[in-house]
């Protein structure tokens, strides 16, 4: 049963070779490999965490942005509304003032027309008075030729005075 009988020479070489391989691999292969794997795992998990954080931050920022846009929208609407109101107000005011102005101008025109009319009437009155005096003078000049007529006239005048 040679098959299950350990051989001393082989055992010696096996322990020596395997020991050497073990030592060399531990020192020059497994330590750097395991350290590198560990480092990589650490950096991957760190990066994943950072990415997660960044994503959360991003979501927060996005939410903020949305809020800001909403606020801006409301602001714009308000501004538009105000502007509209202002416009209407201004138009209304302008209309009102225009109305007033027009009224004033019409009044002024009326007054000046009245004034002109009065002046013209006065002038006509004066002219009529002058004409009347002239006519009266001519009539008097005709009538004062006759004595009886003179007397009648004076009487009439005195009568008028009495009545006054």
């Amino acid at each position: 049963m040679e098959l299950i009988k350990p051989d001393l020479g082989l055992l010696f070489w096996m322990i020596l070779s395997f020991g050497t391989v073990l030592f060399v691999l531990i020192k020059f292969a497994w330590r750097p490999i395991l350290a590198a794997l560990k480092n990589r795992e650490r950096s991957i998990s760190k990066s994943l965490l950072a990415a997660q954080r960044a994503r959360e931050e991003m979501a927060k920022i996005e939410f903020g942005n949305e809020k800001i846009t909403q606020l801006a929208k409301i602001e714009r609407e308000n501004l538009l509304k105000e502007a509209k109101e202002l416009k209407n107000k201004i138009i209304e005011e302008a209309r009102e003032s225009a109305k007033l102005d027009a009224k004033k101008i019409i009044e002024e025109a009326r007054q000046s027309v009245q004034h002109e009319k009065n002046q013209a009437i006065n002038e006509i009155k004066n002219q009529i008075a002058t004409l009347s005096v002239d006519i009266a003078e001519k009539i008097l000049k005709q009538r004062l030729g006759d004595e009886s007529l003179q007397k009648e006239l004076i009487n009439d005048l005195i009568k008028d005075i009495d009545l006054n």
Binding site: L3, W13, M14, S17, F28, P32, A36
Partner: protein
């Protein structure tokens, strides 16, 4: 890496030529061996055929052509009190030759081992034999291969820090992670696993590479390293020593004074401690047997299928040809199975070692 492989290949060719030369000038022997071969074919012995392939050897047999055994000679290193240190190539001892009073025994207690003989060729002693045998050479080749592969991987880890793996690095990284996370961490626990991971990785890849090399039928494969009891003994010894020397107080307490066991099972006759102590030795022993038996069995079955061709061929050459397709089909099937077994056994050995380490470092908990 290519350079090294090339150099390895080149030296092996050189060595083969050397060997051919040493046989080439022995004309008379050639005739003899042709004759021998013919008789050998008639008396094909599957048992010898199989065990010749499975056991260790002083030279690395490559092929036999017309009775010429072409083999890579390996250094023989011997020590005896009378002759001192003997250092020569194994080719000197081929074909039962005696060299400087040493020969390979054909029978007796030291069959197929080098023995010291006197002038008459009678047995004197078995020298201290630390020859570089086929298995030793195979272990050295696979060890060198392991160092080459993993140091280069370590360098690519350093060079490409924090980057995705590439090439052979990405091929082996899943295995490394598997051993670290699913074997070491799961069995030993978060606290201690980092101490044992390098050893577990080494035995896993050492067993795996030797299993795989054993499946390759030509040099530098073909040596039955992990199917050799001495090799598995050494591996189990490493696990046993590490378990014993890193065992904590709790581990030893469980052996010598296991809690939850009635006192009368421990006090007058320490029955349970005795069983526990045997268990400590049985655990690595089982590791040794399991790996040895699995790998050897696979090789024996494959060689058995091949033997069928020659057994039937000996009855009638036509029958040998008729059986060969079936034999080859079964051998291919077995080889695939062996490929699976190569991984499974490497994994099982590593896993059980990890479990033993886990037991040795388990913390006391109520």
């Amino acid at each position: 890496m290519h350079k090294v492989l090339f150099r390895l290949f080149f030296t092996s060719i050189l060595v083969i030529n050397l060997q051919n030369f040493s046989f080439g000038n022995e004309e008379h022997e050639k005739k003899d061996s042709i004759h021998n071969e013919e008789t050998a074919v008639e008396k094909f012995n599957p048992g010898n055929f199989i065990f010749d392939h499975i056991k260790d050897n002083y030279s690395w047999h490559l092929y036999t052509y017309k009775g010429n055994h072409v083999a890579i000679p390996l250094p023989v290193i011997l020590y005896t009190k009378t002759r001192g240190i003997g250092l020569f190539w194994s080719s000197k001892l081929a074909h039962g030759h005696t060299y400087k009073g040493f020969k390979i025994a054909h029978e007796g207690d030291y069959k197929d081992k080098i023995i010291e003989v006197n002038e008459q060729g009678e047995f004197l002693s078995r020298p201290l034999d630390i020859s570089i045998t086929k298995n030793v050479a195979a272990i050295m080749i696979s060890g060198a291969l392991l160092i080459l592969i993993f140091v280069s991987i370590a360098n690519s880890y350093k060079r490409r820090e924090d980057q995705a793996p590439k090439g052979i690095q990405s091929l082996l990284e899943p295995l490394i992670l598997f051993i670290r996370d699913d074997v070491a961490r799961n069995s030993i626990g978060e606290k201690h696993y980092e101490r044992y991971t390098p050893f577990l990785l080494t035995i896993f890849f050492f067993i795996l590479i030797n299993n795989l090399m054993g499946l390759i039928p030509i040099f530098p494969g073909g040596a039955n390293v992990t199917g050799n009891i001495t090799v598995t003994l050494a591996l189990a010894l490493f696990t046993f020593i590490i378990t014993t020397f890193t065992g904590n107080k709790n581990y030893w307490k469980h052996i010598f004074n296991p809690p939850g066991v009635p006192w009368w099972l421990k006090l007058p006759v320490p029955l349970i401690p005795f069983i526990e102590l045997i268990g400590v030795i049985i655990k690595p022993f089982v590791l040794m047997i399991r790996l040895f038996a699995n790998i050897s069995a696979g090789h024996i079955i494959v060689l058995g299928f091949f033997s069928l061709i020659f057994i039937f061929g000996n009855m009638k050459p036509v029958m040998g040809f008729a059986v060969s397709p079936i034999s080859i089909a079964f051998t291919i099937f077995m080889s695939f199975l062996e490929l699976l077994v190569a991984f499974i056994q490497a994994y099982v050995f590593t896993m059980l070692s990890a479990i033993y380490f886990g037991m040795a470092t388990e913390e006391h908990h109520e």
